[in-house]
Symmetry: C2
Subunit: 131 residues, 2 copies
């Protein structure tokens, strides 16, 4: 099963996973790596490497909070590995759709699922409801 | 200044705000309302009403974690109020861009900013980097 690694400024990755589990139940194979206030890129990189070492050579999708900044800069380099994919803009619908689509999906498949779910989840309700 | 209310399953709204503040510094006029495990829609609605009462008649943008589910169902009704707008798919770039664009912006202006920032933040890095 494709592993999922959440990469965030601060600890909202952990909180987001708990929120997803409120909705779809407990999940295996999800890891969260947080950049703490004052932490160096090297310290963060060491934590990410440890998470990826736990995962080994399994297909892995890294979901990153935002494009740019330390978590992105450190994590995005890993996309050169053939078994690792990365998507930015992590939100709850992206995470839930990703976790529910892991059976038989490669990291590349899941990256497409995550991207589509993330983009489609963003809706401005005023115009949508003809306000 | 347009007020911002985060509406989420579980407590990742609070965690997301702390992550945004790591990047752009402390923020005023941001409120977070969490649906806790086992909480009724009525209980959640009462907490949201209390947050909106604190805000009063100021322009208010409600950022909702996902389309559907209790937080959405309870919060989206408020979009009928002329001074309230709602956007779904809350993520960190949406929140940061919203908070940095509040000066002189109405809730409707900010809803557009939030929607565009949210959608543009979702990127699949493999194809983007010609993997």
């Amino acid at each position: 099963m494709t592993q999922v690694v959440l990469v965030t400024h601060g600890e909202f990755g952990d909180a987001l996973l708990r929120s997803a589990e409120m909705i779809i139940g407990p999940q295996d194979g999800v890891h969260s790596v947080s950049l703490l206030a004052g932490e160096s890129p090297e310290g963060f990189g060491a934590k990410l490497d440890a998470a990826l070492q736990d995962v080994g050579r399994e297909d892995t999708l890294i979901l990153i909070d935002l494009f740019g900044g330390t978590p992105y800069n450190v994590a995005a380099r890993r996309v050169r590995e053939p078994h690792i994919e990365c998507v930015t803009g992590l939100n709850l619908p992206m995470l839930i759709e990703t976790l529910m689509s892991r059976d038989g999906a490669t990291a590349a498949d899941l990256a497409e699922v995550a991207t589509q779910a993330g983009k489609e989840s963003v809706r401005n309700l005023g115009p949508l409801l003809n306000k």
